[in-house]
């Protein structure tokens, strides 16, 4: 009897303690969430305020806004011809994503589904190469780009340097490492029966790849497409190094030249940053699950 009472007291005590720790956890997470959300929130807030109003007020950025409007966005968009930069981004990103997925799915298929001598070594070459910092190879690569010829429709200077094709090539090559690794792990988990059945029916290698394996990999490919789009869209380094003319750069790399223009007006700089951030944030909001799945496939096996 008394033991029961004591046990009962202990559980209520425990429950109270657990509730306390839960409240503490929420407080901790809320505080952190505010800190994390703040820089982006502040950028959006600044971008909506007329700069004159901030300057005129002695409290500067702390003053309460009298007006909030999209003027900064309009003036940045029209004044800097952002259409062109977004177009450059699309011309680079979309072909690079498609090419990477196509090539790495074939590679992964050949590596995961057929056993041959240098299987593992090939996979290692790709995976390890993908981990190298790009700065390690940029100097010779830059010189190579200045030497490699490329015919007219793809290039306007006869070289691969300073061309969209050159940027697509390096993105595709670099990202193929990661995607091949992820896709080959994914393909290893697929059951063998379908493939065997297709081969008994006389299907060749390409048919097996295209009609059997590729449709089964759709979830992994969708996840990778989301990640690839974000990574290539976000690229700053390759575009900065392998383009001479600022006008050909995609939006993220163009930020580097444009920022100088707004040195004196942080509200326009804020508007520009938000504009550059919007595509990936929207993609993330729509395809949140794909992001997480893509990263998960890369880190856990299968």
């Amino acid at each position: 009897m008394s033991a029961n009472v004591m046990a009962g007291q202990r559980t209520t005590h425990n429950r109270a303690r657990r509730r306390m720790s839960r409240v503490g956890l929420h407080l901790f997470l809320i505080a952190l969430a505010i800190i994390f959300a703040w820089p982006l929130f502040y950028a959006v807030y600044m971008s909506l305020r007329p700069y004159g109003e901030i300057v005129a007020n002695p409290n500067g950025p702390f003053s309460l806004p009298a007006t909030l409007n999209l003027d900064n966005y309009f003036s940045v968009w029209n004044g800097q011809n952002l259409n062109a930069y977004y177009w450059n981004t699309a011309v680079i990103t979309i072909p690079a994503v498609l090419l990477t997925l196509w090539i790495s799915s074939m590679l992964a298929f050949a590596i995961a589904k057929y056993s041959w001598r240098f299987n593992l070594m090939v996979l290692m070459i790709f995976t390890a190469g993908n981990l190298l910092p790009p700065q390690v190879i940029i100097v010779p690569l830059y010189r190579l780009y200045l030497l490699l010829p490329l015919p007219a429709p793809l290039s306007d200077n006869g070289l691969i340097y300073d061309q969209f094709a050159g940027l697509i090539l390096i993105h595709t090559t670099f990202q193929t490492g990661f995607c091949t690794f992820v896709l080959s792990n994914y393909m290893k988990t697929l059951s063998k029966e379908l493939m065997e059945a297709a081969m008994i029916d006389g299907a060749g290698v390409f048919t097996v790849y295209y009609r059997v394996i590729l449709p089964l990999c759709r979830p992994a490919i969708a996840a990778l497409a989301t990640l690839l789009f974000t990574w290539i869209y976000n690229d700053f380094f390759w575009a900065l190094m392998l383009f001479k003319s600022g006008g050909k750069r995609p939006i993220t790399a163009a930020l580097n030249n444009l920022s100088g223009t707004f040195f004196t007006d942080p509200t326009q700089l804020a508007a520009l940053s938000v504009l550059a951030a919007i595509p990936t944030i929207v993609l993330y909001m729509i395809l949140q699950r794909n992001f997480v799945r893509g990263l998960t496939l890369g880190s856990t096996k299968g």
Binding site: H26, L29, L32, F36, A37, L40, Y42, A43, M46, G60, P61, F62, I103, M106, L107, A110, Y114, S115, R117, F118, M121, M124, I125, F126, L131, P133, P134, Q135, V136, I137, I138, V139, Y142, R143, I170, T173, F174, T176, E196, M199, I200, G204, F206, T230, N234, F236, T252, P266, L269, L272, A277, T280, Y284, Q288, F291, L295, T296, G298, S299, T300
Partner: protein, 327 residues
Amino acid sequence: MSEVEHKALTPAPAVAAGAGVPVPKRRPRHYSVLTRRDKVLLAVMVGVPLFIFVVLIWAMALVSVVLSFTDWQGIGPLNFVGLQNYTYLFQSYPAFWPALSHNLLWLLFFVCFATPMGILLAVCLDRPLRGSWIYQSIFFTPVVLSLAVVGFIWELQYSPIAGNGFIDSLLSGTGLVSANSTPDWLGDPSINIWAVLVAASWRHIGYIMVLYLAGLKSVDPSLREAAAIDGANERQTFFHVVFPVMAPINVVIVVVTVIESLRAFDIAYIINHGKNGLELLSTLITNNSISEASLIGFGSAIAVVLLVISLVPIVLYLTRVMRSEEQ
């Protein structure tokens, strides 16, 4: 590296055929007879991308090594000068040791702060918690941003009062610091690396959180139940049960953390092209060989230093993957 290659080259007892041509597994199966066309197709599927990858990535890394022993400036024949670039780099070049120490500081800051913070958040958000997905979304959002955009967003926080920077306006507005002595977060070479590290962590923490959370979700729940029955508290369960079975993810986390700190470039470049307190190995390479000067040989020597450092985590990771592959 040689150990890795050696292991890779030790083949499973497969029937040897022409090098590079796919051969069927040792146990003959009904589909193992590939036609000649199929073999050619498979060889093309692997061979062409492999060739391009090796030329553009690994051969370039090797060329970097070769160029680092020359004084090439982009024109004329190659002139080999032995270790001259390296002796100058280590003994006289004023930016080298600061850059190397900034890279190491970056790594230390990630290892001691950002990565554990991401793991802590993952552990907090792994349990059933109301609003967990809201927290996860907020912490993950910076990860989808370009580092260049991250640089700008934090410039709005760090600019001096004249530029309406938030932090300095806050410090002087609340009277904590007088308006004319607020820190110049990005301009003062003794503190700007820390300001950049905070901005970089803002993105790194969410990245680690998502990776780790995925790992935690894949841990067999019966392990935790068994630990709970044995009377282990949450902390004991994590350190003695969950953490050890997470070994594969832990390796990925270590590799991601090291590689990200070696790759650091964009934020520093956006702020001041990697100078005046923000020197990094990566910015030294591009500034010396591409953007500002054409000292190809000298820049390559810096690239080789970076290459050697990055091979450490890469080899660690590969041996790990190989071992699990062999099992």
